[in-house]
Amino acid sequence: MNEIPLTHILFVSTALFFIGAYGFFTRRNMITMLMSVELILNSVNINFVAFNKYLYPDKLDGIFFTIFIITIAAAEAAVAIAIIINLYRSHHSIDVEDAGEMKF
């Protein structure tokens, strides 16, 4: 794996981050927006692991940060889905345009 420069891996993670950002901007359904957030978090994880492997192989800190990000992403997804299901019960829709009551 040493013949692949670090910038190529960073290209993949940067592209994945902006793909997730595009989905977050354009989607109007809350579940698909949550999926875009998962893509963004995963691109950050790729960065941490790649930096740990290429630049600081004498430490394990990138691995720990990745583990904590995955844990917190799981908690975040669970809470978000609980909120989405509760919103669906009261509004019968999970479109962000239909849930404007708490806007101001």
């Binding site: 794996m1 013949e3 910038t7 190529h8 891996i9 960073l10 993949v12 940067t14 592209a15 994945l16 902006f18 793909i19 997730g20 950002a21 595009y22 989905g23 901007f25 354009t26 989607r27 109007r28 359904n29 579940i31 698909t32 949550l34 999926m35 998962e38 893509l39 995963n42 994880n45 790729i46 692991v49 492997k53 630049l55 600081y56 192989p57 004498d58 430490k59 394990l60 691995i63 720990f64 583990i67 904590f68 995955i70 844990t71 917190i72 799981a74 908690a75 975040e76 997804a77 669970a78 809470v79 889905i81 609980a82 909120i83 989405i84 299901i85 509760n86 669906y88 019960r89 999970i94």
Partner: protein
């Protein structure tokens, strides 16, 4: 180009292609399945970087946990065969523009920066080393964040139950 390099480019194309399909496809269930493929490809990238533990965690937590949760919530709240509403063309065009500009800026910065690897001897990222450092109380141990995160998970679990619990209408 060796087999390892070819593997990397195949994995990268797989991750980006399925990720792009996950945010652009019209049916919500297909979108979840494309996300599943993209996350599996990322686990493959971790295997390629010889981080077996992270790859296993990725498959167990993301593919086995979060995507299944998302699919369940799709079945609970959506008619999954239906096409979703298309994004407004103006909004889609401007988001694509912003995203491409942001990507170009970030990648230019990455290209110009010179990364200097450390010269110290590498430590093996085995499960034993990870476990020892994760639970050690010495200077570079991660026991405090570990405990904090366990409390956070407990709080999130209780919070989910409280939010999603069905309240009975008040009886007269």
């Amino acid at each position: 180009m060796s087999a390892s390099a070819i593997m990397f480019y195949i994995l990268a194309a797989f991750i980006l292609g399925t990720g792009l399909l996950a945010v652009t496809t019209g049916k919500i269930f297909r979108s979840a399945i494309w996300l599943l493929f993209s996350l599996t490809g990322i686990a493959g990238l971790y295997f390629w970087m010889q981080m077996e533990f992270i790859a296993a965690v990725q498959i167990i937590v993301y593919v086995g946990g979060i995507v299944v949760l998302i699919i369940f919530s799709i079945f609970l709240t959506q008619r999954s065969g239906q096409e979703m509403l298309k994004p407004l063309p103006r909004r889609a065009a401007f988001s694509a523009l912003a995203v491409i500009a942001g990507f170009a800026l970030t990648y230019l910065l990455i290209r110009q920066h010179e990364f200097k690897p450390t010269l110290r001897p590498a430590v093996e990222a085995s499960v034993a080393n990870i476990g020892v450092q994760l639970l050690s109380t010495t200077e570079h141990g991660y026991i405090l964040p570990f405990e904090v995160v366990s409390i956070l998970l407990l709080a999130a679990m209780i919070g989910c139950i409280v939010i999603a619990i069905k309240t009975k209408p008040a009886e007269k």
